[in-house]
Symmetry: C2
Subunit: 255 residues, 2 copies
């Protein structure tokens, strides 16, 4: 990795000015990072209920007032510009990526900030457990699974997970450490045996970059805040705006 932002605000500014459109893992260590889901207010109750019913995949950090772009969890931030890369979904179809969504903004947009597993990575690294995707400056590997989410109104579908290869001797400690970060998905949902949760080929993630699994390592899976994107597709939600997987909103909150 060429340059690490230590301050959330500097990363947000770089994203705002179009100078940074990369995965945010490894940046601003110790600060909570967040997935973004924006839906028009007509679907906001259903989506808020979806989060309430699926706290592992969708631990809420903040829900902004309808129309607002200014989250309380980040000073002087703008939710429509400060994420490195956004994704657009229309009627269940992926509809492109962009560096800003200012031009698309609607007064009825409700923004949901959802915890991200990147938030516990600094604590895991401090415990002397290396994380390969951070070391290699790549995006974390993410997979669609067969784990059903609890449906809510128009939202239904399966969980997306992130995967980190962990040494067998470190698995228990990683469980303990990540368990202290409830708002960052907490403990893993699955350890080993990827095929049991419907993952056919670990070398082909549905989002992010593949990462090698070395001998003496097992794949460890955490619920992932990309779940709403996949659920929005499966549920054919007319319109939603999200972050691009791995390119998070970095808050000023300490994890």
């Amino acid at each position: 990795m060429t340059m690490i932002f230590s301050e959330p605000k500097l990363l947000r500014l770089a994203a705002r000015e179009g100078r940074f459109a990369e995965p945010t893992a490894g940046h601003a260590p110790g600060f909570l990072q967040a997935n973004l889901m924006i839906v028009p207010q007509a679907y906001a109750f259903d989506f808020l209920l979806f989060c309430q019913r699926n706290p592992k995949a969708c631990p809420l950090i903040e829900v902004l007032e309808p129309g607002s772009v200014h989250p309380a969890c980040a000073h002087d931030a703008n939710i429509a510009t400060d994420i490195p890369l956004y994704r657009l979904y229309r009627d269940g179809e992926f509809a492109g990526e962009r560096k800003s969504v200012v031009d698309l903004w609607q007064p009825d947009f409700v923004s949901f900030l959802i915890g991200c597993s990147f938030s516990f990575e600094a604590a895991v690294a401090e415990a002397g457990i290396p994380l390969r995707h951070v070391q290699q400056g790549r995006n974390v590997a993410m997979y669609r699974t067969n784990i059903p989410c609890a449906p809510a109104g128009m939202f239904h579908g399966e969980m997306v997970v992130s995967m980190r290869p962990i040494k067998s001797s470190d698995v228990a400690r990683v469980v303990e450490i990540s368990g202290r970060f409830a708002v960052a998905h907490g403990v893993p949902v699955h350890v080993g045996n990827a095929s049991e949760i419907g993952i056919v080929d670990l070398a082909k993630p549905d989002y992010g970059d593949p990462v090698a699994i070395e001998e003496n390592e097992v794949p460890v899976f955490w619920a992932c805040g990309v779940t709403p994107q996949w659920v929005a597709q499966k549920s054919r939600i007319p319109l939603c705006v999200t972050h691009a997987p791995g390119m998070m909103f970095v808050t000023d909150l300490k994890g």
Copy 2:
């Protein structure tokens, strides 16, 4: 207390048939009890967001589908009949109590079940710490405070708390035990010094029955699921249906 229901279902049936309209503290020990808040769907997003922003006062157990009277957390239950006593609020005014709300039911009613501190009382009693209101078969004492809730949409106001007198030597243990019940309001919000949170006279609770505080005891305060009722009044919500304070919906869930 004359008779204790050990089975949630039997208590719900007795309430349904109008045979039981008393406080539920001490009944069905070990089972989660729930506060009820019903609002028309037009206010449901705002209220769900209020719960998300105020998890100490409003820890959600379940949100029912719009119009549904059948919660998943209680077998064969009916949310419109199975609570010992209901309260009605219109435009911020208390509008009476009744044993059933079947005749008032609207297809757009959304029911919220919110954790109740009665749920940790069995564990506290098992630890050898007596709770006076349970011993005396009275309702727990509840007070409006000056502790502001985080507002959400049309909902704003202050927290309501329940109070239990606890021996000074037992306070720490009660904190530990109640802390294990996050969905039942968790640890206390205040210990001692009632006037600091705006309570003028402990002998005059705003809801429930007064209870003596003996020598060697301090009043210990927990966030209370009656908060939505007071907030609905302060916010002049056009219509909501709730349980009568202290007369809870008893679920089949183990605490």
